[in-house]
Structure formats: C-alpha cells, structure tokens
C-alpha cells in the first residue's frame, strides 16, 4: 500500500492545488465584524448494535477517509454521508476531512481506484435517511445534528467527548440561523 499511497497522495494534493478554491466550510468563528452564528453539536452516530462507544478524532478521520474497513468486531464499516449542500456535510468535510467537495470526490475516486480506500461512502438526501440507514446497517457510521438524533442510533464519543460537552469540536450552524 505504501508504494501506491505516495503517488496517489501527490496526485490528490496536486488536484487540491489545481482546484485553487479554499474550503467553503462554515467556521465556528465567523468572519470578523459579522455576528457569530448559533451552533449546534454534530453527533457521530453508529448502529445501536455497534460495540464501539468512543473514537479519537484521528480514528474518526481514518474511518471517514475510508482507510479503515472494519470495526473491531470484524463488521464491515459503511460510511454514510449527506448530499452536498447540507451544512452537516460541510462541517464534516472541513473538520474531519479537511477537504472541500472536489478534494473529497477525488480522494475517494483515487482511493477506490488504487485500493487504498476500503469504504465507499453512501450518500443520502436527508438526515432522516441517514438515521434509518444507520439503523438498518450494523456497521454503518454517519453524522447527524444532535437535534436529529433519536434512540434508533447510538452517539459515540469523539476524543472522549459527547456532543454538548465542553470542547466538543464538531459544531454545525443551528437551523435557527436560517
């Protein structure tokens, strides 16, 4: 994998440079002079049957990048994303992937082609679809606003913090801002 990974990484970086556009992901702290929007925690959710309760941000990133294919129990990891345009997706791209949409697409195209990426993300059009998908697939992992979470899915800790805990990094602009 090491031999293949380096050229691909270079390719990806080149693509990123060629795209030339900075990430449009919303930031927790807005531009200077503008009012700070209300934020809401973005929960990372898995199937209720999943034994994993906590992940480090690094592990989470590896999972989201598709670099980790299975859970500790051997179950295949299925990554669930929302369609482009959702603020939740933008937060995930900026705070987990550190990529924009193009980089994200290129990452997976390249990764799947080279075999570096084991998981192709499933894209759903609504948070409800995400929730139901995760409910149906034992190895699924995705993200939802804290207000969209219900008992059908399990919220896991990121760096030992739950959504709402102080220092929890993943925050999405609240719907009230609209």
């Amino acid at each position: 994998m090491g031999r293949l990974a380096n050229p691909l990484l270079v390719f990806s970086l080149a693509g990123l440079l060629l795209a030339g556009s900075p990430s449009k992901a919303p930031s927790a702290a807005g531009p200077p002079g503008q009012p700070v929007p209300n934020l809401e925690p973005l929960a990372i959710v898995v199937n209720q049957a999943n034994a994993v309760d906590s992940l480090s941000m690094a592990d989470l990133r590896r999972i989201f990048l598709g670099e980790r294919g299975h859970w500790p129990n051997g179950r295949r990891i299925t990554l669930v994303m929302l369609d482009p345009g959702w603020p939740e997706r933008a937060v995930v791209l900026s705070d987990i992937y550190h990529m924009d949409e193009t980089e994200f697409k290129n990452h997976f195209l390249h990764g799947l082609f080279t075999g570096e990426v084991f998981v192709s993300p499933k894209t759903l059009s609504t948070p409800e679809g995400v929730r139901k998908f995760i409910f149906n697939v034992p190895g699924a992992i995705g993200y939802l606003r804290a207000s969209d979470v219900d008992k059908s899915v399990k919220v896991i800790r990121i760096d030992e913090r739950l959504p709402g805990d102080k220092g929890y990094k993943l925050q999405v602009p609240s719907r009230e801002n609209k």
Binding site: T78, G129, N136, V137
Partner: protein, 493 residues
C-alpha cells in the same frame, strides 16, 4: 253453637262467596274474553319463545359470519404483510440508490411490524392448544426470517448485493417458506373453525324449528282444549238453566194451582148456593182472601226476582232498626199464624245499632229466612231467631248478624253449593213435596248483597240448618238521607 262446630259451613260473601258452579257460570259468561285472553297469552308465549330462539340463531349466525370475516381478514392481512416484508426487501436489490434502499427497508419494516402485531393478535385470540402451538411456531419462524431479512437488508444497504442474494437464497427462502407453511396451517384452522360454527348454526336452526313447532302444537292443543271446555261449560250451564226453568214453571204452576183450586171450589160452592149462612160465607170469604194473598205473594216474589235479575229493582236505603223489622215480620208471617203449635224462640241482643238498607226488602229477606225455616223444620216445629252484634270480616267494622235456625231436615253437603242458585230445589225437598219456587234464597241473597251484606249457612243433614244474614252496621246512625241502592251494590243519592 257446639253443634255448629261439627257442622258444615258455607258462606255467601259478596264477590268471593259464589259456589263453584257459580264460578264456572261466571267464567262461561266471560268465555269469549277468556278465550281471547288465553289465546293472546299463548301467542305471546309462543312469540317470545320463537323470538328468543330466532334471536339466538341470529346471534350465532352473526358471530359465525363476524368470526369468519375477521379470521379471513386476519389471515389475508398476515399473508399480505409477510409478502410485503419480503417483497420490499427484494425491491431493494433492484436499485443502487441508497435513498431507495432506505425507503424499501422502511416499507419492509412497517410490514414486518404489521405481521408481528397480527401474530400477537392471533395468539391473544387462540383458544385451543393446537392454535397456540401453531401461533408460537409462526412467531418463532417469523422471528427467524426477520433476522435473516435484517442481514439481507444490511448487505443490500452496504452495497453487497451478491452477499445479500446469497444470504437470501441460502437462509431467507427457507425461513420464509416455513412462515408460509405456518400461515397455511393457521388458514386451515380457521377453515375448520368456520365449518364447526356453520354446523353449530345449522344445529341451532334445526333446534329452533323443532322448538317453535312443538310450542305451536302445544298452544294449538291448549287452545282447542280450552275452547272445548268453555263450550262444554256453556252448554252444561244452558242445559241446567233450561232444566231449572222448566222445573220453575212446573213449580209455579203447581203453587198457583193449589190456591186457585181452593178459590175455584169455594166460588163454585157459593155460586151453587151451597153456602147459605152468613158464618159459612165469612169462612169461604176468608179462605178466598187468604188464598188470593198467597197467590199474590207468589206472583210478587216471581216479579221481584225477575226485576232483581234484570237489575231494575231499586231499593231506598235508610237506617233501619233490625229488631223492629224482625218483630214485624214475625207478626205478619202467615205461615206462623197458620202453623199451630209452632214455637219461635226469639233472642235479640239489646241496644243493637241500626243498619243501612231498604226496610221492605229486608223484611222480605227475613220473611224468606223464617218461612224456609218453618218449611224445612220437619217435625221439630221449632225455629230460633237470633239477632246480635258481631265482628265483620273486614277488620274494625261491625255487623249485625240475624241467624235463623231450624232443627229440620238439614242440607246435604253436595246441595250447599246450589241452594242460592235461582230455581234450584233440592231433590230431597221435591221428594218430600215441600212446595216452593226455588227463588226465595236467591232473592234473599241478592237483597243482602244490595245492602252490603252476605249470607252464611251452617247445616248438617238430619240435624237442621242455620242461615245467618250479615249486615254491616250503619256508620252514621243519625243519617236519614235516603240512598238509592241498586241490586248490583252500587249506590246513588
């Protein structure tokens, strides 16, 4: 009165004192109404039976149809939802769109919830061990299939279509077939239950028909029997009345012929000049006069009876002093005057309160009692007349009782129920050639009842009789306002 204890008593109380024959006569008078009432009751009873049975049969049928429809609905819903569960899962295989995957998974889960609810309902309604066993087996097999279905769905949603197909073909098809077999078994049980219920309804229907037919037959027989009985009573009554009337005509004719013969003979003797002397003429005149009075009284009695029977007679009611009337009657009764050596023992309680009634009617009543006692006193030639204050049957009321006793031939037990019937004359007195019309006691009873009183009789064959007239004491003795009393007992001022 010690003798009275041993004797038989028969009371003639208004409304309740009628003899059995009178009761039957009364019944026969209302036979049509009774018959209609009886038929109405019979039809009502039959109708209630029939309605009850039909209602039960209807309820059974309703239950059967409702149960059948519900069972069919349950099994149809279960079959549909099981198919829907599987169908939605398989639909998910036909697309790569994750949104559609989720949609089909949702549909499948909704359907499987419906199936689970249906199975729970089936188990809740299961009664027989067989039903419960099959229900539990279905529940178990369905759970097994769902676990396979969940894995298949997960594989589809993960994008592992081949894995999903392999799992479905390997485990899903078999487990789903077991579910279908269980459902077929449930359906078979429903069919059996429906057949059983149909048989029950059929049996209930047959039983209803038999019951209704039986009850109708019984009603018909009872109706025929009642009609026959009433007709027989009416016919017997009519024959008896005709016989009594014939006897009455014969008796009256005989009673009239005797004085007529005396009068005719006396008149012939006078006309033929056989009676010359003044004394002889006076004797003949007295004889004619006495016989004429006798005839007049006889005719009066018949006319009064006829009037009371037609309810045309009206009595004028005053407060009446019973001792005074008794004394008057004893003075004026010709039978006493002519019956030499007859001893009348009169005992009147001092201070008797007055009664309310028609004095002349009461006098006739007393006279009938006394004349009867004289006629049937036999060789004893003794009668006792007693008037005293007694307690009425109605609590708190007082009555005056006028008892006339004789030590004569007495009345047979079998005769007691007939002596107050009009025209009735005992075969014994007919045989003894004791004259009478058979109207005296009937007329007396009518008068007594018109005055609010009644008769009681104590008699022993060969020992004598006591006829007692019970008259209620006038509530307000000072009241002299006349009341018009009809013989049916009603009054008007």
């Amino acid at each position: 009165m010690g003798r009275e204890k041993a004797s038989r008593e028969r009371k003639s109380v208004p409304g309740t004192s009628t003899s059995a024959a009178q009761t039957w006569a009364g019944l026969s008078r209302y036979s049509s109404a009774l018959l209609l009432f009886f038929i109405f009751c019979a039809v009502t009873v039959v109708g209630l039976f029939a309605i009850g049975d039909l209602r039960k049969a209807g309820i059974d049928q309703q239950n059967m149809y409702a149960g059948l429809v519900l069972s069919l609905h349950r099994i149809a819903a279960l079959e549909y939802q099981t198919q829907e569960t599987r169908r939605s899962t398989l639909y998910a295989l036909s697309t790569t769109d994750s949104n559609l995957h989720v949609k089909y998974a949702d549909q499948s889960r909704e359907a499987d919830h419906a199936v689970s609810a249906g199975i729970t309902e089936y188990l809740a309604n299961a009664r027989t061990p067989n039903e419960i066993n099959i229900g539990k087996r279905l529940e178990r097999d369905w759970s097994t299939y769902l676990s396979v279905r969940d894995e298949v769905l997960a594989s589809i949603l993960e994008g592992s279509t081949k894995e999903a197909v392999d799992r479905d073909l390997g485990e899903g098809v078999q487990s789903f077939d077991r579910v279908r077999q269980d459902l077929a078994e449930v359906e078979r049980i429903y069919d059996q239950q429906a057949s059983q219920q149909l048989a029950n309804v059929d049996a209930t229907s047959r039983r209803t028909i038999i019951r209704v037919a039986a009850v109708l037959a019984i009603t018909l027989i009872a109706t025929i029997a009642s009609v026959w009985t009433i007709q027989k009573i009416k016919m017997t009554g009519a024959i008896q009345l005709a016989k009594l009337q014939m006897e009455f005509v014969a008796s009256v004719s005989h009673e009239l012929r005797t004085p007529l013969a005396v009068i005719s003979s006396a008149a012939d003797n006078i006309a033929d000049g056989l009676v010359q002397s003044k004394d002889a003429l006076k004797i003949y005149g007295d004889t004619i006069q006495r016989q004429s009075r006798h005839m007049t009284e006889l005719v009066d009695e018949v006319l009064i009876f006829a009037a009371t029977k037609d309810r045309k007679s009206h009595f004028v009611s005053h407060t009446v002093d019973v001792p005074e009337i008794l004394h008057s009657v004893l003075r004026q009764t010709p039978e006493l005057a002519t019956a030499s050596g007859f001893h009348v023992e009169l005992e009147i309680e001092p201070g008797l309160p007055p009664v309310k009634g028609d004095s002349s009617a009461l006098a006739r009543c007393f006279q009938n009692m006394i004349v009867n006692a004289i006629k049937y006193s036999g060789k004893s030639r003794w009668i006792g007349v007693k008037a005293f204050l007694g307690h009425a049957q109605v609590q708190g009321q007082r009555e005056i009782q006028i008892a006339v006793r004789d030590r004569g031939i007495g009345i047979a037990k079998s005769e007691l129920s007939h002596i107050f019937e009009p025209f009735y004359r005992s075969p014994a007195v007919v045989a003894e050639q004791i004259h009478g019309t058979g109207l005296g006691l009937s007329l007396s009873k009518n008068i007594a009842e018109a005055m609010g009183g009644y008769f009681s009789v104590i008699s022993e064959l060969g020992a004598g009789s006591v006829f007692t007239l019970h008259l209620p004491v006038a509530e307000d003795p000072k009241s002299q306002m006349p009341l018009e009393v009809r013989v049916d007992g009603s009054t008007e001022k």
